[in-house]
Amino acid sequence: MSQSTVQTEVSINNTPEAVIGYVADVNNRLLFMPSLKSISDIEGEASAVGTTWRWKWVMLGVEFEGAGRCLEHMPGQQYSFTTEGGITSTFSFKATATDDGTHLAIRVDFDVPESLLSNLGLESLLASLKKGDADQAAQNLKVILED
């Protein structure tokens, strides 16, 4: 198993409570995560720890399916969830209050099976795609939450 991490950050002119509250609601995720194609079968409250769901992700024209689970939700501070399956990822969102609103740090840790990497040589491509996705998600959150 190979581990990689991508990180990004953004300043959002809104309160940390609003930012984390928005990110934590699983129903909103489709609106700001560019490669996430669908969320379904949500079991539990939309932003509660332990809530699970099914997801579809599109990468290079290929559709991946798996399950997701909320790991942590501290209102106004932190939220994280994991995607489980052949490619395991943990998405963490950490909000810090600033004079202008909120500094949001996004971190994605993901494991990819060695067999997939050695057969296809995808490690750097996958990291680049994940980084691009995280950057775009951060900018989308800024657009949504600032007006």
Binding site: L31, F32, K37, V62, F64, G85, I144, L145
Partner: protein, 174 residues
Amino acid sequence: MEESYFPYWIVIGAITAYLLLFLVTTRPVSLRCGRLGWILLALPAARGVMLLAGSPPQLSIEASLATVVILIVLTRKWIARVWIVRTTTADFWEGLENACRGLFLKCDERTDARCRLRAGEQSAELMMKTIGGRFQCILLPPLSVHAKLTLLVDWLAKQYPGPVPRVRIILKGR
């Protein structure tokens, strides 16, 4: 003579296949006129290759293809905003209103045929015409009005993808 028309048949075949996939699928999908425009541009491209390969110019063909190119270029921004979506009117509006709430976009003055989308001071109209019950012809708002409209259209593209099926990989839990 037959050989010179071969590239055109390929393009016509591609368009026909795209339309047939849209018509026969039962999933909620969309047919985006902008994509048809791109496929059509393959016709003059194919003709250009044929001319470079030594095919003799024919005024009627060249004039027709030039007209196609000019029409697509002149109308490209408008064409890209026209989608035909396979869904019911009620399902479309219900989904759109939910997405607007998630994006903090106001969806005002709504009827079955249109609504006005407002983000801050800016607004733009989304229009819809029902075609035969299960198909809706949508005229999307211009994306330049506000970045949230781009996110709304991105969401629509996820809800109503193109008709060409994707390769699917289901990841099993460990």
